[in-house]
């Protein structure tokens, strides 16, 4: 009897095989929006360096419906990425005190608390309140 193992080809259908793979791909996909937003900020800095007229034109550009739509999408993707990422932190950073491990909720919660504090600090320095 001879051996003839059959090797199955991998196709991209795996993404749709289970919701977990789709959720993962959405998290990976979020980098496109976050990257594009970062490039937009670099362009904004360039306009700022070119003087008040260029800066004012940049700000006007940001008010366009396309820009607002893009920002809403980028914010949604950034929030999805951050929330799913922080929820995974207990796996990467388990903390054992004595015999017991610190509960997952405490580790993820600490990340969310620092995130909220830093966001408030940024808003404060930006003059939001």
């Amino acid at each position: 009897m001879s051996r003839k193992p059959y090797v199955r080809e991998i196709t991209s259908e795996w993404i749709f095989r289970h919701p977990r793979y789709l959720r993962y791909m959405v998290r990976e996909f979020s980098c496109l929006f976050i990257g594009a937003w970062t490039l937009l900020m670099v362009w904004g800095l360039k306009q700022l360096a070119q003087g008040p007229a260029a800066w004012a034109a940049f700000l006007e550009c940001l008010k366009s419906p396309a820009s607002v739509g893009f920002h809403v999408l980028a914010l949604a993707f950034a929030a999805y990425h951050s929330i799913t990422w922080f929820n995974l932190t207990p796996k990467a950073l388990p903390l054992q005190i004595g015999e017991e491990f610190v509960p997952d909720a405490a580790i993820a919660g600490a990340h969310f608390a620092v995130w909220a504090a830093l966001s408030l600090a940024v808003l404060y320095f930006a003059g939001a309140f």
């Binding site: 009897m1 001879s2 051996r3 003839k4 193992p5 059959y6 090797v7 199955r8 991998i10 795996w14 095989r17 289970h18 977990r20 793979y21 993962y24 990976e28 995974l88 207990p90 796996k91 990467a92 950073l93 388990p94 054992q96 004595g98 015999e99 017991e100 491990f101």
Partner: protein, 247 residues
């Protein structure tokens, strides 16, 4: 206990006669409390003795009966028929070559497992006369969940990275390497790092997390892999920015 007619669509492959696998449908009267493995055994005993698959303990300990049940990696002995509606599709574990029917070729996993040295490498060899290597409950708890791995390879079938990059060492082997690295009695981390901290080790993982979701023993290979990534990164910074620490 009641009985019901269960339809199973089983992927068949005979290397001597088939050029590629095909599905074969069986209808078998099964008891309500049976698992997929019971149904397969019943089919083999009463309908088709040529059906091939691996199994041994029937109690989720040996790790032999891993297969895809309706597209999900499952132990056939732990997949209860009552949890499925309609025809149940049974296929060999994904990402592994098919030897025959539901039997896969697992040479790749076995070779990778050996490479990570999943056994205790004592810091200092001691003679038997000095007694056992003692450990506190806290030290035991540090690695215990990883020692529950039964080498069933469901995590490999769930991991798209392993499917796409066959050289990737994969979840179970890294989790087992981590199990020994975390053990207070062990001194073999440096030897294992050569395998698991390499590109084909933890760095092929993009944290899909499917391995931990499908593990029948509730091991968390995804967690182990991320912890190895962090420790390996710390190693790199220590070696390059604080070389005096390595002396």
């Amino acid at each position: 206990m009641g009985e019901r007619l269960v339809e199973l669509e089983v992927l068949r492959y005979n290397p001597e006669t088939d050029s590629e696998p095909h599905f074969q449908r069986y209808a078998a009267t099964c008891r309500e409390e049976w698992v997929v493995l019971d149904a397969l055994n019943h089919i083999k005993e009463t309908l088709d003795p040529t059906l091939s698959y691996r199994w041994s303990c029937h109690m989720a300990v040996c790790g032999s009966c891993g297969m895809m049940v309706n597209g999900e990696p499952k132990l056939a002995c732990k997949a209860f028929l009552r949890n499925y509606e309609g025809a149940i599709r049974v296929e060999p574990l994904r990402h592994f070559p098919i030897e025959r029917d539901l039997v896969t070729v697992m040479d790749d996993f076995m070779a990778k497992l050996a490479r990570v040295k999943p056994y205790l490498i004592p810091r200092q060899e001691r003679p038997f006369s000095e007694g056992e290597y003692r450990q506190t409950p806290a030290e035991l708890k540090r690695f215990k969940q990883y020692s529950m791995c039964i080498n069933c390879m469901l995590c490999y079938a769930a991991c798209p990275e392993y499917g796409l990059i066959p050289n990737y060492i994969g979840p179970a082997a890294i989790a087992l390497a981590h199990r020994y690295n975390q053990d207070s009695r062990d001194g073999g981390r440096e030897q294992r790092q050569q395998e698991i901290a390499a590109t084909e080790g933890v760095w092929e993982c993009s944290f899909v997390g499917a391995c931990s979701e499908v593990c029948p023993e509730h091991v968390d290979p995804a967690g182990a892999i991320q912890q190895v990534k962090i420790k390996s990164t710390v190693d790199w910074y220590q070696a390059h920015l604080m070389p005096w620490l390595n002396k």
